[in-house]
């Protein structure tokens, strides 16, 4: 009997599922609990519910500055990454050219290069050519690591848009740019949106590269990391972390929901004739 369908098997799967979920999310729940705990030390016992820590971080100009820098860097990263990823994914999916495998390998390589290596490399590079460290240099580093994710978000979507749609547009008298504006872009839009949000979140969360190439203005994760050695600061830092976590989760959920919704609408046209064949036969 199939383990996945037998009663005992199902119970086991259920158990494993919940253990995994617990393993993944218990740390976050702990974080959430301590952000409301009315105690200076981040540990049990529970001393009572408080919003004090949320209050103090809102009054802390350093945290707010770091958050602002993060938002600026993440926005810049998301915009540039998306703009670069669109033509890159079109070239990878639609064109046949010499060395395509190599090109796609090179573009996706940052996925497997350790961030410390990349951070060091960027540090040396910026020093050598004399670019001062600033939010801009952080964004450049983040674009490098976000680009493969953005491309990998766009490619599957593009693969599901039949090339015949673009040919039909050309056949009806549209040039390349009109075809892109009228057909390819609108159909890619959900994936473009996903790629944008994903790049944003990747940049917003990233600490390694940001700590290597940041100037005086640090991003929020870098600030958070630097505060860990000051126990008195810890509770309010945790409160910020919860806020950031929540925002990240919401953003990623929205992008995923949007992607699925619009994927369905693209499928409908191709699904209709299958159903018809079955019903008449």
């Amino acid at each position: 009997m199939n383990v996945a369908v037998s009663r005992a098997g199902r119970r086991w799967l259920w158990l494993v599922f919940w253990l995994l979920t617990l393993f993944l999310y218990a740390p976050l729940v702990i974080l959430l609990i301590f952000s409301f705990n009315d105690r200076e030390l981040v540990s049990f016992p529970w001393e009572g519910f408080t919003l004090h820590w949320y209050q103090t971080f809102l009054d802390n100009p350093e945290i707010l500055t770091a958050l602002r820098v993060s938002v600026v860097v993440a926005t810049l990263t998301a915009v540039v990454t998306t703009i670069l990823a669109i033509p890159a994914s079109i070239a990878l999916v639609r064109r046949r050219f010499f060395g395509k495998g190599l090109v796609s390998g090179v573009m996706l390589a940052p996925l497997v290069i350790p961030l410390v290596v990349l951070g060091t490399a960027l540090l040396i590079l910026f020093n050598t050519i004399g670019i001062p460290f600033s939010p801009l240099t952080i964004a450049i580093g983040h674009i490098v690591i976000a680009l493969p994710f953005a491309i990998l978000t766009l490619v599957p979507r593009l693969e599901r848009i039949p090339a015949a749609l673009e040919e039909a547009s050309r056949d009806l008298g549209a040039g390349w740019s009109t075809t892109f504006r009228q057909i390819t872009f609108p159909l890619m839009l959900p994936a473009i949106f996903s790629a944008f949000l994903l790049s944003f979140v990747i940049s917003f969360d990233e600490v390694v590269i940001a700590s290597f190439v940041a100037g005086d203005e640090v991003t929020f994760p870098v600030y958070l990391y630097s505060q860990l050695r000051l126990p008195r600061q810890l509770p309010q830092v945790i409160a910020v972390a919860v806020v950031v976590l929540t925002i990240s989760a919401i953003v990623v959920t929205i992008s995923e929901v949007l992607r699925r919704m619009t994927d369905k609408s693209l499928e409908e046209t191709t699904r209709v004739h299958d159903e018809e064949e079955v019903s008449v036969a």
Binding site: P162, A164, L165, E167, A168, S169, R170, D171, L172, G173, A174, G175, T178, Q182, I183, P186, L187, S265, L266, E268, T269, T270, V272, H273, E276, E277, V280, A281
Partner: protein, 366 residues
């Protein structure tokens, strides 16, 4: 200068993909208002030929003229032909109206005119009032009609159809065949139709170009292609074929005769190949299943062919009954007979006599 009656002229066109010669030297003139079908098995080069006309592929050699103008190197958006794609390729994010007016909008036709033209075209294809539907809400047959309308509103010099009915079920396909023919007749547009379905080709076309391995094997009316196949491939691909290897025993006037036994013989008129045929030479002779007469007992041959044999299999097809007969020459012939009293009497294992008139057999090759 070219003939004004010619919509598309393909001249000595070749196209290879890597080592594969998709189109291997094709010349073809398609007349204005003609319904021409490119018929052949998959991989024969028919779709490539169509894509060469549309401009999605460029020929390695040769020229393509559209209404007398050389279009080689002209991108598809600048060619006045339109295409109906195999899976319709309707824009899923646009309503029917926006799909159909796509080409008109690009030609800067004013909005009022566009709406009127779209409404007229929907009327012609039998979808009046469906302007605001999304492609996903339409059935396969309806999507097909929208795709037709979207191409035809541009009044192309020719409409290219790439297996347009392939995704429809049999009944709807028969209906759409008639519809396509009606629309073509109504608008007098040149249709270039690609299919691998011989029934479709025979029932719709003015002329058929039968393609195989990148070349046109035969170009002719459906009747010519069916009744006077020029090559063994055409005879085999279009319709059911009985091919027999025959050795000439006697040349009697206009006829080549092969004696099988005292009473059985095969007679073929001296055709275009006749000058070379002489006693002792081998021929490939073909006869269509529906031309063969089946009888029980003593069939009179007249001056035609006669073969006796045993029924090996009986296949009931509705209007027709198909008999597979093992004949005295050692080959199994297929015979189509109307499903009448005689058909119901003949069973597997029965002795039968097959006869056909001398003009019903054709020499395919020697």
């Amino acid at each position: 200068m070219s003939d004004p009656g010619v919509a598309i002229s393909i001249q000595r066109v070749r196209k290879s993909f890597g080592d594969v010669r998709a189109v291997d030297g094709i010349s073809l003139d398609i007349a204005e208002g003609e319904f021409l079908t490119l018929l052949g098995p998959s991989g024969c080069g028919k779709t490539t030929t169509m894509r060469l006309i549309a401009g999605f592929e460029e020929p390695d050699e040769g020229t393509i003229l559209l209404r007398g103008t050389d279009v080689v190197g002209v991108p598809p958006n600048k060619r006045e032909v339109n295409m109906c794609f195999q899976h319709y390729a309707l824009f899923p994010h646009m309503a029917v109206e926006r799909n159909i007016e796509y080409g008109l909008k690009l030609k800067k036709v004013p909005k009022g005119d566009r709406q009127r033209i779209v409404a007229e075209m929907l009327e012609i294809v039998g979808l009046a009032g469906m302007q605001q539907r999304k492609p996903g809400q339409l059935s396969g047959g309806q999507q097909q009609r929208v795709a037709l309308a979207r191409a035809l509103v541009n009044q192309p010099a020719a409409l290219l159809l790439d297996e347009p009915l392939g995704a429809l079920d049999v009944k709807l396909r028969k209906h759409m065949q008639l519809e396509l023919k009606r629309i073509q007749h109504e608008l007098r547009t040149t249709f270039v139709y690609v299919t691998h379905d011989q029934d479709e080709a025979l029932s719709m076309s003015d002329r058929i170009a039968v393609m195989n391995q990148g070349v046109i094997e035969q170009l002719g009316t459906p009747r010519e292609v069916y009744e006077q196949p020029a090559t063994p491939f055409v005879a085999d691909f279009v319709g059911v074929l009985n091919a027999m290897d025959v050795r000439v025993d006697e040349v009697a006037g206009e006829d080549l005769v092969m004696r099988v036994s005292d009473r059985d013989r095969i007679v073929v008129p001296v055709g275009p190949l006749g000058t070379e045929a002489s006693v002792g030479s081998s021929l490939l002779v073909a006869v269509r299943p529906e031309r063969v007469e089946l009888s029980i007992g003593d069939g009179a041959a007249g001056n035609g062919s006669r073969l006796s044999g045993t029924v090996g299999q009986v296949v009931y097809l509705g209007t027709l009954t198909q008999f597979h007969v093992d004949t005295a020459i050692g080959e199994r012939l297929i015979v189509h007979h109307l499903s009448d009293d005689l058909s119901s009497m003949v069973n597997r294992g029965d002795e039968v006599v097959l006869t056909w008139a001398r003009t019903d057999a054709a020499v395919l090759s020697s």
